[in-house]
């Protein structure tokens, strides 16, 4: 459930519109949303629907032409393309740029760089001296992430962070983000993969041609069949199974749309062995 309105949100966007060219089309139009502390919100939407544009506003890199963007905690932005983000010659220097701008020096700075690399899953000793241009695509992504994490942001803005990662790295990445989220870091996550969104986010924001098509929690998102159809999204198997069994009369009141495969199994097992023999 969303916190009460007494709490100040980390990010508030109100009726935000933006066009890149003066007479061009709106890239985002009257978008409103809120992000509360510790939440993870997934931003979905087709190619060119304005997701990146919205994120750039939250990062303060684009200024509202109309509407309002309020950011109350320190944000860190992971760019859609790591090439756009990295600009120093070596890994170490690039990761150090952010914390140095925050005024850190010496051991403290070094500590931060190591921290960023470690959390991003990058072997500091192997990569510190490497030239950025010689890195592979996935390695660049990790360096970019390390550079953001080294600043210890309180809100993470991630623009398709799992694109181009192998399944193993992606799984580690998801685990890492979930952990960060668990420590109170709020997250805005742009992704095209429902599995990624499902694994991390409690809330969904769907954009279409720059307008908000949906903004709500995960359950109401999965409940919205026409929307899912329109987005060509199929909920992950566990969610579909849970829903299906529930509609068949199974009692899954202890399961939510964030429960894992294991807890689903556990519940099924419990109900099969239970006194009523499962079905109510």
């Amino acid at each position: 459930m969303r916190p009460s309105h007494a709490i100040q949100p980390d990010i508030v966007v109100e009726e935000l519109s933006h066009r890149y060219a003066e007479e061009g089309p709106c890239s985002i139009e009257e978008v409103s949303m809120k992000l509360y502390r510790g939440e993870c919100i997934a931003v979905l939407g087709g190619t060119g629907s304005g997701k990146t544009t919205l994120l750039l506003h939250m990062a303060g890199l684009l200024f509202p032409q109309s509407g309002r963007v309020e950011v109350n905690r320190r944000v860190g932005l992971l760019f859609q393309r790591p090439e756009d983000q990295l600009f120093k010659p070596t890994v170490e220097e690039d990761v150090a740029f952010g914390p140095r701008m925050q005024g850190l020096q010496g051991d403290e700075l070094n500590e931060r760089v190591r921290y960023g690399c470690r959390v991003a899953g990058l072997d500091y000793r192997r990569f510190a001296g490497r030239s950025i241009h010689t890195l592979s695509g996935g390695e660049k992504r990790k360096v970019a992430l390390a550079g953001v994490l080294a600043m210890k942001p309180e809100v993470l803005l991630l623009d398709e962070p799992t694109a181009g990662l192998d399944p193993m790295t992606r799984r580690e990445f998801l685990r890492m983000i979930r952990e960060l989220n668990g420590t109170g870091i709020s997250i805005v996550l742009i992704t095209h993969h429902i599995e990624v969104a499902d694994a991390l986010a409690q809330h969904f924001l769907v954009l279409h041609r720059g307008q908000v098509l949906f903004h709500g929690d995960k359950t109401s998102f999965y409940d919205n069949a026409p929307l899912l159809e329109r987005l060509a999204i199929r909920p992950p198997f566990v969610r579909r199974l849970t829903r299906r069994l529930r509609s068949e009369g199974w009692d899954f009141s202890n399961l939510s749309d964030s429960s894992s495969e294991e807890s689903l199994l556990e519940t099924i097992r419990g109900q099969l062995q239970g006194p009523a023999g499962g079905r109510g």
């Binding site: 890199l61 756009d84 740029f97 952010g98």
Partner: protein
């Protein structure tokens, strides 16, 4: 990303001219402007050059914006010439090293309006000629050079790439500014005066250089990967043919030169 070199993608008689013809006309007119020593010719030219703007469907607002932007420059050129180049002949006004005469006044005006005419000309050309057409124009004009064993094909490829790179560096620097400010760098000084702007830009300069070189390399690979070979035997997607309008354009250019000579000699 507006600035000079902004191609206006519409269809018009001027846009459809043969690139080689357009480029020749440009070269001829530029030389004429630079060589005709008469303020009347240059003034008249500035006015005349506005006509093709209409033919090219360039919105009046564009023209006004252009004028607005170069007006300060014109003023500076005028003042520098007027104040720093001592005039010959009878002085109208004298103060230390400043010496203004009828001749120096006329000279300064001539220089200023020359600049205006040139800017109008180049802006017209830039708005109506895409990079590809420009490259083709250069290639077409330099083809005779091939006979002299000068590698005109390669030369024109270098030109294309150079023209591509101008906007690239500006996109690249925007990217760098964005990347750096996302991690806490402050570019507020960019909105300050010329000096503070230059200083704020300093941290962008070296990465810009590196990134541009890198882009060069990538682009060269990409061009090679698509089997580009300069010079003979190369085909192109769009073929240009001379049309009647091209002859008219050339004829008008020649007539302009003739009229200019007439004015210079007899008026």
């Amino acid at each position: 990303m507006r600035g000079f070199g902004s191609y206006l993608n519409v269809d018009s008689v001027i846009h459809r001219l043969h690139p080689g013809v357009k480029l020749s006309a440009l070269l001829i007119l530029v030389s004429a402007i630079l060589l005709f020593p008469s303020i009347y010719v240059v003034l008249l030219s500035s006015a005349l050059f506005l006509l093709p703007y209409r033919l090219a469907h360039i919105p009046g607002a564009h023209g006004l914006k252009l004028l607005q932007r170069i007006l300060p420059l014109l003023l500076i050129v005028f003042l520098i010439r007027l104040l720093l180049v001592p005039g010959a002949g009878e002085a109208l006004w004298e103060f230390f090293f400043i010496r203004i005469s009828r001749e120096s006044l006329a000279d300064s005006l001539l220089g200023t309006f020359r600049l205006l005419a040139l800017v109008l000309l180049f802006a017209l050309f830039a708005r109506t000629t895409s990079q590809n057409e420009l490259a083709y124009g250069i290639e077409a004009l330099s083809r005779p050079l091939e006979k002299l064993k000068i590698p005109a094909g390669e030369f024109s490829l270098v030109m294309i790439i150079a023209f591509r790179f101008l906007p690239l560096t500006s996109i690249e620097s925007e990217r760098l500014i964005r990347a750096q400010s996302a991690r806490g760098a402050n570019f507020d000084a960019m909105r300050g005066g010329l000096f503070s702007r230059a200083r704020a830009f300093l941290p962008v300069l070296i990465p810009l250089f590196v990134a541009t070189l890198k882009r060069c390399e990538t682009m060269a690979t990409a061009i090679e990967a698509r089997c580009y070979q300069g010079g003979a035997g190369r085909s192109r997607l769009i073929r240009y043919h001379l049309a009647r309008r091209d002859l008219w354009a050339l004829l008008l250019t020649v007539m302009y030169i003739g009229a200019g000579f007439f004015l210079v000699l007899y008026v």
